[in-house]
Symmetry: C2
Subunit: 302 residues, 2 copies
């Protein structure tokens, strides 16, 4: 186990112009775990109800994901999310959110989890993220994601959390909201000035940017002719990136390479609903796309 992933485990009902799913497996921790499992052995921490399909847990295990930290609440109902995407997949509408077993979730790390060197606090209530972090001994890397809901409703918890993480991962809208400015450049300055060592901004189809004392990095996204369901793309990006990094030294070059690996992994996620494309994805599938990304970024040697 080299990467602990805490986040939501959900049953998603998603509508896009290309189809719909009902109660399909989803959640930030699931997407991130599938992606990370390409490169390392992730250990998931989360909660589901008794209604969560056993087969989905088996599927995760088959990919090498450790699931002792996935609590199953007797008689409980799994967290559910419903959303709809329009023709422009960047426009998402949340139809419903049922917290269910998440309401009273108090994560307890199983034996052996406290020493995992890398931690990804995927998007859940920041109080739960803090709770999990408090149970870790001394991870070498703590990466945190969040969302507009928590920025609005739990700013104090987020501030507390910010002081204890190494890397913050956000989309551009969230970064502007968290820093309370309409300028992304100002948001980046403000967030980095607050002590964040490394800031990664996800921009969906526009790629991503990474900021640290070692420089600014900008990566494009792949142009995909068929985007069926963008749900989970950001978590897949993070999982691929952190899974690849988990066994490597945290140099700037490795971070940059990891961003490309995460980008390539996310490009598969969106080509199918739920984790349809991730379940059987192999490392080899990524090679062509990371090469393509590097060619897109190359100036001098075409």
């Amino acid at each position: 186990m080299t990467l602990l992933i805490v986040g939501s485990v959900a049953l998603d009902s998603v509508q896009t112009p290309f189809g719909a799913t009902e109660n399909a497996v989803g959640g930030s921790a699931v997407y991130a775990s599938y992606a990370a499992s390409l490169f390392t052995q992730p250990a998931i921490v989360g909660v589901v109800g008794e209604d969560f399909p056993k087969q989905e847990i088996t599927n995760l295990r088959r990919r090498g994901v450790r699931t002792e930290g996935l609590e199953i609440v007797r008689g409980g109902k799994t967290f559910r999310w419903g959303g709809r995407y329009g023709d422009d997949v960047n426009q998402r509408e949340t139809l419903f959110t049922e917290l269910n077993v998440f309401q009273d979730f108090a994560p307890k790390l199983p034996k052996g989890y406290h020493d995992i060197p890398n931690v990804f606090l995927a998007n859940i209530d920041p109080d739960l993220q803090i709770d999990v972090l408090g149970q870790m001994r001394k991870p070498r890397l703590v990466v945190c994601d969040t969302m507009n809901l928590w920025i609005k409703t739990k700013p104090a918890s987020l501030t507390k959390l910010m002081n204890r993480i190494d890397v913050l991962l956000l989309n551009d809208e969230e970064a502007r909201m968290l820093a309370d400015t309409s300028s992304l450049a100002k948001a980046v300055s403000k967030l980095r000035g607050g002590g964040i060592e490394r800031l990664i901004i996800k921009k969906g189809e526009h790629g991503s940017m990474m900021f640290s004392s070692e420089g600014t990095f900008a990566a494009p996204a792949l142009m995909l002719p068929s985007v069926k369901d963008p749900t989970g793309a950001g978590d897949t990006f993070a999982g691929g990136m952190l899974g690849w990094l988990a066994g490597r030294t945290l140099t700037e070059v490795n971070w940059r390479k990891a961003i490309l690996v995460g980008t390539a992994t996310a490009s598969f996620c969106v080509e199918d609903f739920s984790v349809g494309r991730l379940r059987d994805l192999e490392k080899g599938d990524l090679a062509r796309r990371t090469t393509e990304l590097r060619a897109m970024m190359s100036v001098g040697r075409v």
Copy 2:
């Protein structure tokens, strides 16, 4: 003269959260000419009224821009545009458009202009773009820009024009509109399938992308802490890019380098109102920013 630029010459009234201008010099041909003048001798083709400040023509000439093709209509009034930007500079509202002398403009190329090897048809009525192109002998490179207004009102003229150009330059919204799809990937396929040799998509703060049979290139934009007025950024990008290319062979590598030069030039444009920052810009000013862009794109050698 190596680059003919036909487009609008305007007096702009712009409001942004950082200030306002009234009847300041603007227009696609003016921004593009200032930018191109850093690298070559552009020749402008356009029309103004008697109210257009003589000093502005002197300023263009001082930068080496040839202005014999800038018709001054006796008693006429210059094209005027008014716009307002909100906190989010990507949201632009047009307050008014007065065509004035543009209404009856029939461009006539001065002696010596017919053989200029590179042509930039900056954004104006596509019928005028066709007209100018018809007067050229055999340019080696024809690059065309347009806007949503012409896509809506003059689709037939645009289709006719598309068959006669080498490179199409659009922003992402225009590309989707012109190809009638919400997917940028599909828009790119459709436009390139229509016979466009090279397609360049401007994405503002997200940079730009270039598509040709030789590959896909993605360039980021610089993160600017102070964006005062984004008017003219796209034309400045084009002018810098094409000015730099005007005296060079049209290889894929040169196109990619030209995109970075254009990006750096545009980054100065937005730091002041009107052409305030472009008027005295020197080649040396660009060096730091193009180096910065390349560092942002570099994966392996940090």
